[in-house]
Symmetry: C2
Subunit: 414 residues, 2 copies
Amino acid sequence: MQAEIITIGDEILIGQIVDTNSAFLGKEFNKVGISIYQITSIQDDKSHILKALKEAEENADIIIITGGLGPTKDDITKHTICEYFNDTLVEDKAVLANVEAIFSKYDIPLLEVNKQQALVPSQSKVLMNQNGTAPGMWLEKNGKVFVSLPGVPYEMKALITEQVIPKLRAQFKFPYIMHKTMLTYGLGESSLAERIEKWEDKLPNFIKLAYLPSLGRVRLRLSGKSFDKEVLKDEIQNQVNLLLPQIEDVFVGFEEDGSIEAVIGKQLTIAGKTLAVAESCTGGRIAESFTANAGASAYFKGSVVTYATESKVKLLNVSEADIQKHSVVSKEVAEAMAKNVRIVFNSDYAISTTGNAGPSKGDSDAEVGTVWIAIATKDKVYSEMFNFGNHREKVIGRATNKAFVMLQKEILKK
Amino acid sequence: MQAEIITIGDEILIGQIVDTNSAFLGKEFNKVGISIYQITSIQDDKSHILKALKEAEENADIIIITGGLGPTKDDITKHTICEYFNDTLVEDKAVLANVEAIFSKYDIPLLEVNKQQALVPSQSKVLMNQNGTAPGMWLEKNGKVFVSLPGVPYEMKALITEQVIPKLRAQFKFPYIMHKTMLTYGLGESSLAERIEKWEDKLPNFIKLAYLPSLGRVRLRLSGKSFDKEVLKDEIQNQVNLLLPQIEDVFVGFEEDGSIEAVIGKQLTIAGKTLAVAESCTGGRIAESFTANAGASAYFKGSVVTYATESKVKLLNVSEADIQKHSVVSKEVAEAMAKNVRIVFNSDYAISTTGNAGPSKGDSDAEVGTVWIAIATKDKVYSEMFNFGNHREKVIGRATNKAFVMLQKEILKK
């Protein structure tokens, strides 16, 4: 059983927003055994929406449509779906009450156009939106399910997890889909592939392997699908057991527990340890990545972004003589930053970065792409130098990833 | 003339990665007058790729295909395109030399599989990839252009801006597409729509209006397309001039100069002013947003993330008595943070945030979603309290956006 995602909105096609909804939908649907056949992003245009609905109905059993449900004139999804189903719009009392409650809570005047949010196709079952005025709408045709949802990410997400997925599971029986992703660092995609070729050739045909290279890491993903959960689980575990000894030197962890920073966060929380960060070239990205996860306050003490050279001296007691002698992008400065930020925040671990993300050279003579990363604990400090190339986005991203890997290695030493 | 984007990769459909390539392509193509008809994301599956190519050929004149060009077995795009064009693969000497040069530069052993990166369809024109081993490939059929590009974002981006777009412009004449996006803050989408309804109804039919609400802001986008650049430009400017007086109280700027933080960065750089940031609930997001832009070192002095309460006292001299009396989420603490971080970094402006992003209450008794934001200059400090709801992602995002808006208002006062 397959699903197709249709995301509607000119803002996606002109690149004004990045479509993050589809990735969320892909992940959540996979968890419950629904494969995504295709993601189709189209304009707020009636004939195009009708064409996409027809094609999706041919390709898939479940069609999820997001976007175009706002109260303004450019939002035409609801009327177009109504036309596709040859249906008429009727007012839903419960939706109207929800709209009125939202406007009264925030003390905003309720306009006629807002009341129209309560109009839904007569054949649809309403999925009440707790976070906004546009309801989700569930329609069926020839055994196929169409669900129209608002495009606002947190509204769509709540509707999917709280209503759409439970309803789909009640109505259909899905196979079990399992992914197991291993994170490696330090070996190129093709060298890794050559090393594990014999193992890969012997994979059973219900398990697929994918290589996902990105900013210095390669993720190896095993994916399988079966109605027999135990057989699938055992076989994937068996394959992982066969693989791990071959990649021991480059393996840094599994991904299904979340991103590497989320995994580090859990490890620190369980161990009752804390972290502080001093960033220069990564500019807050490391701190932001940790604190984006709920529960970060259990282990994340804080961080400094010492972007200007003078702030490295003032906030982190980096020696001016060291900066003069070795430059701000140096082993000495990186290590002093890590050592002192750990003391300032009184944490168990600290990470620091100092480097040049480009495009110009900044406060240092270091080549664009040169980054020093240091790790400090209560009894030691050490660092490594890297060159991450000459794209700002790539340098910041790779330095951040590498800092996570170095920290995780240090944490796992205990 | 329209383009279709086909992004290939199981990792997109299972939600393991967010497809950011399509937004980049949409933006760059729009700049030169090429509309995107549709974005289609599909699996690494031969029959699905062939089907998508056929449909795209029917829908569009230019087909951009990204992904699936790696050296490993799961990458099948090149062979499938070759089949679609009924062509054979031949070795390209220049591509082989490029592959060899990359491996020799990084001193990595060159494997047989890497050499296969030099195989291209015999009908294709090679677009040399300066940042990786997989070349871009340009093919034509019945006057339609197909371009296959690697999925690695920085490789794809360089190929698009340096080779694909110049080549398309040399071959075709495109109309002029113009977008003008106005950023508003503080009025809901439907109230805004009602206020400007009369103006909207009188828009000429070659100009479209879209409302893009997101985390407290509504972006108003005017889009037009014409072969007469001057007519289009004048009419959009004319409409903006008619609109602005009606939204004066909520208008915070135009978006085409980049994100609001990029605009602030430019304003500060031109004025020779500097910025420091003290973040609690936003956890580094504000700093990260500024420093993601090249040139940030001209105005961004640095920041602290004082996540733990003790660090607010130690690093920013926030009074313990104030914390006891008013809690860490309070006007007093926010203002002390902004005032003192400005002094610590010796900057002209400072922003601070302190609040509770949830899901649990953390170090404060403040309700989840409560955030204080303060702005400090050399001669004053002030703050505002907000409630940004109860989703962590939403609270962090809205607090960050609001901080940008408050800072920009302060900067524009001069």
